[in-house]
C-alpha cells in the first residue's frame, strides 16, 4: 500500500487526482483524508484567486488594422526638408534601460514592425492615412512630410496610430498615444533606437523615434516638435 509521504506528494501535485491507489489510501487513512480536505479547501481559494475579473470586450479582433500602402502619390513631399528646421528643443535626460516603461513599450513595439523602417519617397494612400488618424481625432498638415507608413496598432490595450514620416535624416516613427498622458518630455535610448516622448496637453502624448544612426538627441527633439506642430486635433 502507498505510504503517507507518497500519497501527500501526489495529492499536493494534483488534489483532484482520481487515481484508484490514491483513493484506496485515503479511505484507509483518516489523517491523510483530513489532510486532503484541508488541501481541497485551499485549492478552492487558489481557484478563486486565479479567476481575476477580465473584460469580454467588443474590440476582439484587430480587423481595423490597416496595411501599409506605397501606391499613393508624393502627397507629403513639399516640406519634408523643413522637418529638421524646427526651433523648439525638448530638453530632457537620456534614460538608459527604461524597462517596463512607456518608452520600453514603444521600443518593443518597433521590433514587431520592421517593414515600417524603409527609406522611401512614396507616401501611403491618403484615404488609408485618414482611416488610421480619424479614430484618434486628428489630421496632419501637409508640412508633416511624406508619411510612408500608417497603421492602427494595438498598444497597451488601445488601438493607436503608428506612422512613419520620411525625413532627410531617415525614417521617423511617430506613435500617437492619446491614452498615455505625460507630465513632461522624456528622451530615451534603447536597443538601437533613440527617441522622445512628448506630452500633448489634452491629447495624451507623442512618441517619436529613429533608429540610432548618429542622429543627436537635439535633432530628434526638433523633429518631435515639428511633428507636434503638424498635427491638427479635430476633437
Amino acid at each position: 500500500m502507498m505510504d503517507h509521504t507518497s500519497y501527500r506528494s501526489a495529492i499536493m501535485a494534483d488534489p483532484r487526482d482520481a487515481d484508484a491507489e490514491l483513493r484506496a489510501h485515503r479511505e484507509a487513512c483518516a489523517e491523510c483524508r483530513a489532510y486532503t480536505e484541508q488541501l481541497l479547501k485551499f485549492e478552492a481559494r487558489i481557484e478563486r484567486a486565479l479567476r481575476v475579473d477580465m473584460p469580454g470586450g467588443t474590440e476582439v479582433l484587430p480587423f481595423a488594422r490597416k496595411s501599409r500602402s506605397f501606391t499613393g502619390a508624393r502627397r507629403w513631399l513639399a516640406i519634408a526638408a523643413s522637418v529638421l528646421l524646427g526651433t523648439a528643443i525638448v530638453g530632457g535626460i537620456w534614460l538608459t534601460l527604461p524597462q517596463r516603461s512607456l518608452a520600453a513599450a514603444v521600443v518593443a513595439h518597433m521590433a514587431g514592425e520592421p517593414d515600417a523602417w524603409q527609406r522611401t519617397d512614396i507616401a501611403v494612400d491618403a484615404p488609408a492615412l485618414q482611416d488610421v488618424l480619424k479614430n484618434s481625432n486628428l489630421r496632419l498638415k501637409p508640412k508633416a512630410g511624406i508619411v510612408s507608413y500608417a497603421s492602427s496598432c494595438s498598444f497597451r490595450g488601445h488601438m493607436v496610430p503608428h506612422l512613419v514620416v520620411q525625413t532627410p535624416k531617415g525614417p521617423v516613427t511617430v506613435m500617437v498615444l492619446v491614452h498615455e498622458p505625460l507630465r513632461k518630455s522624456m528622451q530615451f535610448e534603447e536597443q538601437g533606437y533613440r527617441g522622445t516622448l512628448v506630452p500633448v496637453p489634452g491629447h495624451g502624448s507623442l512618441a517619436v523615434l529613429m533608429q540610432d544612426s548618429g542622429v543627436s538627441s537635439a535633432e530628434i527633439a526638433r523633429i518631435a516638435a515639428q511633428v507636434d506642430d503638424s498635427i491638427v486635433w479635430t476633437h
Binding site: 503517507h4 501527500r8 499536493m12 494534483d14 481559494r45 487558489i46 484567486a49 477580465m54 479582433l61 534601460l97
Partner: protein, 175 residues
C-alpha cells in the same frame, strides 16, 4: 459575391469564438505576465495571429488550447523583444493592487499576491491545471516537460503557496 458572404460568415464565426474565449485568454496572459496592459496586448496580437493561421485549427472544439498555445508563444516573443532582465514582483503587485483588492475577501487577495510571487516555472503549470483544466499530460505537452517534472512543479507551487498563506504545513511532505 458568395466568397464575400462566406468571408463575412467566417469572420463573424471567428469573432464570436474569440469573444467567448477572450476572458480566459486574458486571464492566462495576465498570470503569465502579471501585467494587465501587457496581457491585453499579448491577447490582441495573438488573436491577429490566430486569424491569420485559422486554417490550422481543424476542430473548433480544440480552439481553446490552440489559442492558449498561441498566447503563450506570443508572450514569449514579447518577453524576448522586451528583454526584461529583472522583474520587481512587489512593483508588479503594487501595480495590480486594484485587481488584488477586487477580491471579495482579504485571504483571496493574499493568495493572489502569493501566486504573483511564484516563479514562472511553477506559476504557469498551476494556472494551466487549476484555471484551464489541463491534465498533467496536457501540461507536459504544452510546456515540453515530462509528466514527472510537471507534477514536481505543481507540488512545489502549492507547497510555496501554502507556506506563504499561513496554512498549516506540518503534515506537508518534504522533498
Amino acid at each position: 459575391m458568395n466568397d464575400q458572404v462566406g468571408g463575412k460568415q467566417r469572420r463573424a464565426r471567428f469573432q464570436a469564438l474569440c469573444q467567448s474565449l477572450r476572458p480566459d485568454l486574458l486571464r492566462f496572459a495576465f498570470w503569465l505576465s502579471r501585467d494587465r496592459a501587457l496581457a491585453e496586448d499579448v491577447v490582441q496580437e495573438s488573436m491577429l495571429r490566430a486569424w491569420k493561421a485559422q486554417d490550422s485549427l481543424l476542430n473548433e472544439a480544440a480552439a481553446k488550447p490552440w489559442l492558449l498555445t498561441i498566447v503563450r508563444r506570443e508572450y514569449a516573443r514579447t518577453f524576448e523583444r522586451k528583454r526584461f532582465t529583472t522583474v520587481d514582483v512587489d512593483e508588479l503587485i503594487a501595480k495590480e493592487e486594484p485587481t488584488l483588492a477586487a477580491a471579495e475577501e482579504q485571504d483571496i487577495a493574499d493568495v493572489r499576491a502569493a501566486i504573483m510571487k511564484l516563479p514562472d516555472e511553477y506559476r504557469e503549470p498551476l494556472v494551466l491545471q487549476v484555471l484551464m483544466g489541463y491534465s498533467t499530460a496536457e501540461i507536459a505537452r504544452e510546456l515540453d516537460l515530462s509528466g514527472a517534472a510537471v507534477l514536481t512543479r505543481l507540488y512545489r507551487a502549492r507547497r510555496q503557496l501554502r507556506a506563504a498563506c499561513g496554512e498549516d504545513t506540518a503534515l506537508d511532505p518534504q522533498e
